[in-house]
């Protein structure tokens, strides 16, 4: 792709480059033939009454270097792009060089990841060096949303608890990282009924996890929950195959309380975990998913 909107610019640059190079040589040849000095080896200029400009000739090796740089420029524009849009005989591009550098870096990186590729997450979680690499990957790629300590925040899942939207096995975590996830909670106001019905459902959902709720409202909401049970299951226990959260635990990804739940039921929510396949190699994802998996393991042992 050319940055020039007309071929004329390319020709203009090519011609200026060649003319400048030739002009450099011409200037040198012209100056070497000139004899500007007076008989006393000065230019004849006198400043401030007594300050004379003397000739202090350049050494010949300097002249040779000058000529060499001009010749080098001709060789350079022959091999490399330098004359407008001309590609140069080597076909070098900065993009090509970047790609080659990236390939080299990937090759160097592959050596580091190779020993871990065949190991299971259980083994890797015991390997300090593997977990250090995993943590670095996490801090550089995941921490922006999930937090440096992987415990998320409102709207961004906590990865250290036992509550998984799409499954907490190392394989499922790797799948989530590789392909990304889209969690869609559709607006359910129409299916549930009136705003009062939505409040009832919200109270029922609170009752599922034993949180403070209005018991009468909750029992009214129980019937309306049928619309929700298609995804969240009969007892609101969720469905990892659909990515439907468990509503019967104490984890509230999008906020706790009647208002927060009613708002979600009414308006719905779409959450996106972006796919990392294009940014991380499978070997990196393997190590990263092992690290993320290990986080929830530590937490579970502690709480037990």
């Amino acid at each position: 792709m050319s940055d020039f909107f007309h071929d004329g610019w390319s020709i203009f640059i090519a011609v200026s480059t060649v003319v400048s190079l030739i002009a450099c040589l011409a200037l040198l040849a012209f100056a070497s033939r000139r004899q500007p000095m007076a008989a006393d080896n000065s230019t004849g200029h006198v400043f401030d009454g007594d300050l004379v400009e003397m000739n202090n000739p350049l050494p010949m090796w300097w002249v040779v270097l000058f000529v060499l740089t001009v010749l080098f420029s001709f060789v350079y524009v022959y091999f490399f792009p330098g004359l407008g849009a001309a590609a140069g005989s080597l076909g070098w591009t900065s993009r090509g060089e970047l790609a080659a550098d990236q390939a080299r870096a990937a090759e160097a990186m592959a050596k580091i990841y190779a020993p871990y590729a065949a190991q299971k997450a259980e083994a890797l979680s015991q390997d300090g060096k593997a977990m250090a690499i995993g943590q670095r990957l996490f801090l550089n790629n995941c921490a922006t949303c999930h937090g440096s300590d992987a415990r998320g925040s409102k709207g961004f899942p906590d990865l250290t608890d036992a509550d998984w939207l799409h499954g907490g096995s190392p394989e499922k975590i790797a799948e989530t990282i590789t392909l990304g996830r889209t969690g869609v909670m559709p607006p359910m106001a129409a299916a549930v009924g009136t705003p009062a019905d939505v409040r009832d459902v919200a109270n029922y959902v609170l009752s599922l996890s034993g949180d403070p709720h209005n018991a009468i409202s909750a029992s009214a909401g129980r019937r309306k929950f049928a619309a929700c049970a298609a995804c969240h299951g009969a007892g609101g226990v969720g469905n990892q195959a659909l990515g439907a959260p468990n509503l019967a635990d104490k984890v509230w990804l999008h906020g706790w309380g009647e208002d927060a739940i009613a708002a979600i039921v009414e308006k719905g929510k779409t959450s996106v975990m972006p796919a990392q396949a294009g940014r991380l190699t499978p070997e990196q994802i393997h190590l990263l998913s092992s690290y993320v998996w290990s986080l929830s393991q530590i937490r579970r042992t502690v709480s037990r």
Partner: protein, 494 residues
């Protein structure tokens, strides 16, 4: 200006005379090859002492081991500089700046006192030229023999002499290149790589490049480097004054120059002390005639002083026709003592004081350097979150940098925010020279958060380097070895 003028009015000599070349007029000339005569004497001995000192240091240091590693090693790949007991991280680049400032002020001071001392005695260009000229002398003889050899046709004898010289020059160049790279790749590893032909491409390049630069600069470019490449010659006049000790020819004593027999009093034959033997010109590495006064080409090597002193000894005249003297001293016929008194003038004292101040600050900051560095960065994706019990939690990352070669253990505490605690922190161990990011969470109880109100509240982290306690001791028994306080903020959401 002709020579009798000089004798008549020694004080009127401010203009540097430049004599027209025979084939002059052109803007470019081929520089004549300078074949300088070997010299011995007081100053030449000093130069050789400095050659030995600097080169033993340069060639020897990479082989010195220290605590099981190379004593001085600049590990560019790992970004760690090892200098004896010190380990420098890229964050310590301020010390490099300090070193450069020290060098600059050192240069100012020495130049103000006695001219281009650095150029004449310690500059690598001078030192390697001295070594290469010594080799040249061994193979091709002194000045006259070399000039003859230059003119001689190519014979087996000339080929052998030139070949021998080239072989030794190339060997010195390669060894210098190897030594240079050995500051970046451990010398022992590098030696093994050389013998097994296992050098990396960049190691090969830098050994050859630095070797070639040494060979070219010391063997061929020599005074051209000083005259045309080094900026020092051009700004030396700004650092000299009329009380700077420079290499001076005492024109009042020497002129009118002319030959005489040994032991003849020059005054009795109407002449000065200079016998016009031109030895001072022959020994000059930049090919100038010091009798024409101070010139930008003069690198202050004092070879002409040594040469002239030898001649004066033979002639039975006092030494010092060419000597270290100030412009004022020469003009006003000052004694050595009078000139030395002017050394302690305001300019020199100010340079000296600044140099001492910077040097003390430099050494003090090196001595007081903390054994670790720490940096706290707030998580910006989520400012705060609500956790169990209505507590507010903020997440941070701390970057810990171990600036030693021992394992270090760190403990972190929160300060300046009542009720704030670190959630689930356990002490972190860092390996030698390791750098690691560690996430940490700070929690504030709901009540405390309410009384503070929403917004960002200043707080501090206290990062403590603790002595690893014995396995059976209580964790709290660990004592603090060093600590740092890092500022940050705690955000309470609306």
């Amino acid at each position: 200006m002709s020579d009798p003028d000089l004798a008549a009015a020694p004080a009127m000599r401010p203009v540097i005379p430049i004599v027209a070349d025979a084939e002059s007029g052109s803007l470019y000339v081929s520089e004549a090859k300078i074949q300088s005569r070997a010299v011995s004497g007081w100053f030449a001995t000093w130069r050789w002492l400095l050659v030995w000192f600097t080169q033993i240091l340069f060639y020897g240091l990479p082989w010195l081991q220290w605590n099981g590693r190379q004593a001085v090693l600049f590990d560019l790949t790992a970004r760690r500089f090892y200098i004896f007991d010190m380990v420098l991280h890229p964050q310590d680049v301020i010390f490099l700046a300090g070193l450069l400032i020290l060098s600059a002020y050192g240069l100012f001071l020495f130049t103000a006192v006695a001219g281009r001392l650095w150029c004449g005695y310690a500059c690598p260009q001078t030192v390697y030229t001295e070594i290469f000229m010594w080799v040249e002398h061994r193979f091709e003889g002194d000045r006259q023999a070399r000039i003859k050899l230059d003119a001689a046709p190519w014979t087996v004898r000339k080929l052998a002499r030139r070949g021998g010289k080239q072989a030794v020059w190339i060997a010195i160049g390669l060894w210098t290149g190897f030594t240079f790279v050995a500051y970046f790749t451990p010398a022992r590893t590098l030696a093994a790589e050389v013998t097994s032909f296992g050098l990396g491409p960049w190691e090969t390049f830098w050994i050859l490049f630095y070797g070639l630069a040494t060979y070219g600069n010391a063997g061929y470019m020599r005074e051209q480097v000083c005259k045309y490449m080094c900026p020092y010659a051009r700004f030396q006049s700004a650092m000299f004054d009329r009380d700077t000790l420079i290499i001076s020819y005492d024109a009042a004593r020497g002129e009118p120059r002319g030959s005489r027999r040994r032991g003849v009093d020059p005054a009795s034959v109407g002449k000065g002390d200079c016998i016009d033997c031109t030895l001072c010109v022959q020994v000059c590495p930049t090919g100038i005639d010091i009798r024409k006064g101070l010139q930008y080409e003069c690198i202050g090597c004092a070879a002409c002083i040594d040469a002239c002193d030898g001649v004066m000894d033979k002639m039975g005249s006092p030494r010092g026709l060419i000597r270290y003297a100030t412009q004022n001293g020469i003009e006003k016929r000052w004694t050595r003592r009078q000139m030395w008194q002017r050394v302690f003038r305001p300019r020199v004292l100010v340079y000296g004081l600044v140099l001492v101040a910077i040097a003390s600050a430099f050494v003090a900051s090196l001595m007081l350097r903390a054994p670790f560095k720490a940096d706290i960065v707030r998580d910006r994706g989520a400012l705060a979150r609500l956790v169990e019990g209505g507590r507010i939690e903020n997440v941070y990352r701390v970057q810990l940098m171990n600036a030693t070669e021992q394992v270090q253990r760190f403990r972190i505490e929160v300060e300046g925010l009542d009720g704030a605690t670190l959630a689930g922190w356990s002490d972190v161990d860092l390996g030698p020279t390791e750098v690691r990011w560690v996430p940490l969470a700070v929690q504030l109880p709901a009540g405390a958060a309410r009384s503070l109100g929403p917004g960002a509240h200043p707080m501090r982290f206290r990062i403590v380097l603790v002595a690893p306690a014995a396995a059976d001791a209580a964790p709290d028994a660990a004592r603090s070895l060093a600590e740092r306080h890092e500022k940050s903020t705690f955000v309470v959401p609306r």
